[in-house]
Amino acid sequence: MLRGRTFRSIRLSLRAGLYLLLASQVAFAAGPQSTPSIFAPASTPADEVYKLSLFVLAITGGIFVVVGGLLAYAIFKYRARKADDNTEPAQIYGSTQVELAWTVIPVLIVVVLFLTTARMIFAIQDAPKPKAALDVTVVGHQFWWEFRYPKLGVVTANELHVPLSSEKTPLPTYLKLLSADVDHSFWVPQLAGKTDLIPNHVNTTWINPLHPGMYVGQCAQFCGTEHALMLLRVYVDTPDQFATWVKNQQQPAVHDAQVATGRHIFETQSCMNCHSIAGTPATGRFGPDLTHLMSRATLASGATLNTRENLREWIKNPDHYKEGSLMPAMQLSDEQLDQITAYLSTLY
């Protein structure tokens, strides 16, 4: 008795879980979520995948209920009873008809699933690129993201800005994915499935975001020590916001005479070997471009918020926020730290 009931209740609770999943589409309002659920799509490919996933869930859920139900029934019905005559049950060696049936039915299910899936693969992967589409080149680094807008002359890091698209005026963003070192994977669940960034190999993907806001994601291919803190933000801006952002990013760095000492330290220490600041001699490419550092909300690829104190601590000892990040602690004096922090804090 107990066993049958236990199995049934497990089955029931699993089924409840499934309903919970299906209900989650109602629970999630459209737009960005702090939990990057794949069931809260806010962009075309993610949305199509979501609809396909519901279809597949329905079919597999149906199979689960039928087969799991039969199993639970068999366990309950055919368990050996205490008062048993100890005879062996009837021996049945097989049945061609029955076996044929449970071969043919799965074949049919596979055909349906495959055709539905194939249609979706081609629709997403081979979608023609509209003329209006924005191009962004994404370069994966251990352990941060470089974003380059070749047509706009903008370079930034870790926080991708893209324009809002709509049904009426589609404005998708096409991402060209490259890697500077090892394999990475670009994944913002609410916008699209993931695509890997592989060195010496060009990949592309696209997003067509339909709700403004900030979407979180992160690297989804293990890439070394700080893979976990290779976080990613995508800001979907309204067209006006996006134009303003682009205009600001296109400017060279702010030049503020008050922080000249800090700038001098930056340019005489090793900082500029790895970092670029447009309009200055700093043209390094190993680390993120700092021209508009203060326009970003986070530091160290999302490891911490971009506040003045965090910035100072990050420069002083990068391992404090991100143990194993490739930025070295430069052993600067407190005064130098203050001055560099002051300089970087002017880079809006």
């Binding site: 199995f7 699993l14 939990t35 995948v49 087969v67 049945s95 076996e99 899936t117 693969i121 499935g193």
Partner: protein, 564 residues
């Protein structure tokens, strides 16, 4: 047909009384130099159980680290080493050896042979496998080259290039990993050849291939598959060594090499490897489910065909691990289809097991509890596998906790459950004593509950966007509670495994005497004493059907009357 009343001459018990044991050193020496398939089988299994505890402890540490966001229990480097070692250990030092251990122990007994075809190769294979395991764990001491602190591989068990290149992984940790897999790989190849030769040439009189018990059949299929799959892995490892030490550029992307080549090689090995692990688990279920349902296996020919079919199809599905690497839409569609096709023979197996139970009198002794858990979990694992084969959905699910949940459903929910079932089933044969049923039930229920707490919840974490291989996560993602539930389930499983280990030791000394045939089973290994004498069978057995002991016990209604 000849005389059916006593078809198995081997069941005559002419065992001499257990020989005097000798001194401890003599006994130890005996275990080291042994070429007896039973002793080697037991060595394989003990070796695997040891590493099961080690890799399990690593998993527990991983789960403690993930209990809180921004936890500092393990640093990122230690965490990365632990998940790499957990995966590598569980696949190569637990999964493979334990399944070959069962093969070693059971196959000769089941096909009526006195030993494996090549007993010395058998011993060599085991010791190579064992040496491979030691090499891997020696990296904790010698990984950085014996100066200063040690280190272990920290690149994931899949070890994607170019992260394994000298530029990104200095020191010797990767080299220990590579050498360990090459060495234990050769051991595995030796065992696979041995099993094939044994099954092809050593079957007793009357045991045609279609009368061979399904356990042996599936081990034959697995061994063939092993020969095919270990080769690309070894090739890839050798390429990696050439890259690291001889200036090769196979995977050196800076010099025009290809990271994708490694991924292809790894998964051409890696996917069939899953079937190398799961088919022996099916093999055990094929023995246990009929015996405890008191019915012949339903659709024996279909079971054989489905196993061969799974092995065959499994060779053409590897790129479903690669839907996100940027293959063409046509390739994605092809591997979607080939992967879905696996579901058909797998479905046949599940239905046949179900039909075997249908109309039976199912005895829920511990082996059957685990086998039933296996059936239920394998059904779910298969269905999540279908979800993952839908490549657009896989673009979301790939490398998320959903995948972790899916493959632990296969590796733990199916394979480990079957291994436990198999140990409870054959332990009496190997030791002459029963494992405690009471402890066994505690073990089962705790493990079953812990398993579902952990791995059911992991699916949801994946759907909520949590990627694998991360040592920490952000509190605002709302993954904390579910991670804590997952960890608690992991601890419960840990307790269950400790109960199991205690049961193994305690029952060896205090367990009930088993006798030849404690489960009232039907294959030849149950006709000989427990533990069997070194020569297994006093005289060569002769069989007339798939269930020789059924024929013996039911002379009025023997199987050979019904078998086609």
């Amino acid at each position: 047909m000849a005389d059916h009343t006593l078809p198995i001459a081997g069941s005559l018990d002419v065992t001499p009384p257990r020989a005097a044991d000798g001194t401890f050193l003599e006994r130890l020496h005996d275990w080291v130099v042994t070429v007896d398939h039973k002793k080697l089988g037991i060595l394989y299994i003990l070796y695997s159980i040891f590493f099961l505890l080690v890799a399990g402890a690593e998993a527990i540490c991983i789960r403690i680290q993930l209990f809180f966001p921004h936890n500092h229990f393990l640093g990122p480097q230690v965490f990365n080493r632990f998940f790499t070692m957990h995966g590598t250990t569980m696949v190569f030092l637990v999964g493979m050896p334990i399944l070959f251990g069962f093969g070693n122990y059971v196959i000769p007994l089941q096909i009526g042979a006195r030993d494996m075809a090549f007993p010395r190769l058998n011993a060599l294979s085991f010791w190579m496998t064992a040496f491979g395991g030691l090499l891997l764990y020696y990296s904790f001491i010698g990984g950085s080259g014996l100066y200063g602190v040690g280190n272990a591989p920290d690149v994931g068990w899949f070890a994607y290039a170019p992260l394994t290149a000298k530029a990104f992984s200095p020191g010797h940790a990767i080299d220990y990993w590579t050498l360990s897999l090459i060495v234990s790989g050769f051991g595995t190849l030796g065992t696979a050849i041995n099993i094939i030769a044994t099954i092809i040439s050593m079957r007793c009189k009357g045991m045609t291939l279609l009368r061979m018990p399904l356990f042996s059949w599936l081990m034959l299929v697995v061994s063939g598959l092993t020969l095919i799959t270990i080769t690309p892995l070894t090739a890839a490892q050798i390429m990696l060594v050439i890259d690291r030490y001889l200036g090769g550029h196979f995977f050196d992307t800076q010099a025009g090499g290809s990271a994708l080549v490694w991924i292809h090689f790894f998964w051409i090995f890696g996917h069939p490897e899953v079937y190398v692990l799961v088919l022996p688990a099916f093999a055990m279920a094929n023995e246990i489910i009929p015996v405890f349902s008191r019915k012949a296996i339903f659709g024996y020919p279909a079971m054989v065909a489905a196993s061969v079919g799974i092995a065959f199809v499994s060779l053409g599905v590897w790129a479903h691990h690669m839907f996100t690497v940027g293959m063409t839409s046509a390739s994605n569609a092809f591997f979607t289809l080939s992967t879905m096709l696996v579901g058909i023979p797998t479905g046949i197996k599940i239905f046949n097991w179900l039909a075997t139970m249908w109309g039976g009198k199912i005895r829920f002794a511990t082996p059957m509890l685990f086998a039933t858990g296996f059936l239920f979990q394998f059904l779910i694992a298969g269905l999540t596998g279908i979800m993952l084969s839908v490549s657009p959905w896989d673009w979301q699910l790939h490398n998320s906790y959903f995948v972790i949940a899916h493959f632990h459903y296969v590796l733990v929910g199916a394979i480990v459950f079957c291994i436990f079932a198999g140990i409870y089933y054959w332990y009496p044969k190997a030791t002459g004593r029963m494992l405690s049923e009471k402890l066994g039930k505690w073990h089962f229920w705790l493990f079953f509950i812990g398993f579902h707490i952990t791995f059911d919840v992991m699916h949801f974490l994946g759907l909520m966007g949590m990627p694998r291989s991360i040592y920490t996560y952000e509190p605002d993602r709302d993954w904390t509670l579910l991670n804590q539930i997952v960890s608690i389930g992991g601890f419960i499983q840990g307790i269950a495994v400790l109960i199991f280990a205690y049961n193994l030791i305690r029952s060896y000394f205090k367990g009930k005497e088993a006798g030849n045939d404690p489960w009232d089973a039907w294959t030849l290994e149950w006709s000989v004493p427990s533990p069997p004498p070194p020569y297994n069978f006093a005289t060569d057995p002769v069989v007339e059907s798939r269930r020789p002991l059924w024929d013996l016990k039911h002379p009025d209604d023997p199987d050979w009357k019904y078998e086609a």
